[in-house]
């Protein structure tokens, strides 16, 4: 089985979010970039398929050279090869088009992406990629097993979960649950050394163009101060929630 794991290069979850260039660009100053958490669960599940079922695992990112350390980290965790599509995509559609090209060229049976990236939160790349490559698609995926060309997955739905049967070729939008948090791997020294020798190929983009355009960013208005209620005066809290906030 040939697995492609899509890796988004995103600001660490603790990052302060600021913008530059007249609020049109994300301010990367002092920001640490990591593998998108939803993708990391997928990558770890892919490692399981590699170790237990002999799958080959390639990781891919659509982005500039600055994303290569993130791909190297994925190689250090255990992926066999990495691909970087050398373009700064403007939207999810453009990313999906570039990824579709990589999938078609590489003949991947299974693509594991995160259900969404934690920066733009578009939640569109996996579904678009599945449609563009005529693959089956399961998102919000919290469990995945593959037997030959058949797959069983569990999808989180509003208020519960759903077990589905499907087949390869398949695109997964993964999240926590695909593996447990405690299963995530920190690259060890041997992994880091080996990652330096693994292939990271840079491919040039197709002529895909974006369909949407980010005009500018706006930060939420600062919040007013909290109204404190004495622990002995819960009646007052109920009064405020009912009469002032109209929330109960």
């Amino acid at each position: 089985m040939k697995i492609l794991v899509c890796i988004s290069h995103v600001p660490d979850t603790t990052s302060k979010i600021n913008f530059t260039d007249g609020d049109t660009k994300f301010d990367t100053n002092g920001v640490q970039f990591v593998i998108n958490p939803n993708d990391e669960f997928g990558l770890t599940r892919a490692m399981w398929f590699k170790e237990k079922q002999g799958a080959q695992v390639t990781v891919v990112n659509v982005g500039g050279p600055e994303t290569e350390p993130t791909l190297r980290k994925a190689l250090a965790i255990g992926a066999d090869a990495a691909i970087r599509v050398n373009t700064e995509a403007k939207d999810g559609f453009q990313v999906a088009k570039e990824l579709a090209n990589v999938v078609n060229d590489g003949g991947f049976d299974l693509v594991i992406a995160g259900r969404e990236s934690i920066d733009y939160n578009g939640a569109m790349v996996p579904g678009m990629l599945a449609s563009l490559t005529n693959a089956n698609f399961v998102t919000n995926c919290i469990s995945l097993d593959v037997d030959g060309t058949n797959a069983t997955a569990i999808r989180e739905i509003d208020g519960g979960k759903e077990t589905v049967a499907t087949s390869l070729p398949l695109v997964i939008g993964g999240q926590k649950g695909l593996v447990e948090e405690s299963d995530l791997r920190i690259p060890n020294m041997r992994g880091i050394m080996m990652a330096r020798k693994k292939p990271l190929s840079v491919v040039e983009p197709t002529n895909a163009s974006a369909e949407t355009n980010s005009v500018k960013f706006v930060k939420p208005a600062p919040k007013g101060a909290v109204t404190l209620v004495d622990a002995d005066n819960i009646d007052e809290l109920i009064n405020l929630l009912h009469n002032e906030a109209k929330a109960i």
């Binding site: 739905i157 509003d158 979960k161 960013f217 109960i248």
Partner: protein, 320 residues
Amino acid sequence: MSVLVYTESEQGKFKKTAFEVASYAKAVADQMGTTVTAITINAGDTSELGNYGVDKVLNVSNSDLDKFSANAYASAISQAAKQEDAKVVIVSSSADSKYLAPIVAIGLEAGYASNVVEAPSSTSPFTVKRTAFTNKAFNMTTIDTESKVVGVSQNSFGLVESNGSASSEDFSPSIPSIGVTVQSVDKATDKVSIADAEIVVSAGRGMKGPENWGMIEELADVLGAATACSKPVSDLGWRPHSEHVGQTGKPVASNLYIAIGISGAIQHLAGINSCKVKVVINTDPEAPFFKAADYGVVGDAFEVVPALIEKLKAFKAQNA
């Protein structure tokens, strides 16, 4: 040329989000000088949609669609958009709608903006405000294609009633082969889901152990609320992952969010930023949550929560 909206139902009844997206579609249609057409799949009585600005309903009744299929539902929506020559398609941010929206977008060669929180600020260029960086910022985005798909963030636009009525006709799209088959659904029918809840009661490590969740569930029961938890609590296995709220868990956009024994890590706060009213109960007055909350009680959850339950029961009895 109408605006098409997919109004979701469950067991023949519209979800609340169906009325919200209908209201949103009406706002877009007014801006564009056109009408609203809704597509429903195995919904029962559709007349209610008229109260939220829908002019015409396309009813799909097909037992092959009793179980959700993103591909088949997306195909039905795309076919409806083509039949109606709709250039703007509105969907919600439910798990199912977020699943099918990218497929609709590819099917219609439409640009797609998700997590949209306001009516378009302009329809030419078509410009929407969406959340980004997990609610830590907003992003103004243009959709530059002729066809457009807009995913409306839950509980952001609200319900806008209008006194119209909706005509209704049957619609029979062709159903593509279903490559992903639902085998079983595991859903608590007696509990409100975090996505649909008006009120969410959430608790953290301050509860000291899973055995103490009885009072959290009781508080949720009294309020008709869903229960949720912080990341450490789900990582420790005290509560299921499906309750984990935050940047890598579920986003919440309820009217009221009550956080008990949760310190308020930046990742947690990001997930609940869209909640309208936030209440924090914590022993530590320095907990970051107090900076994000509207109302706060500095106190021990083990004393405050039982008192709150008792007072709320009295309040509910009085206001019933």
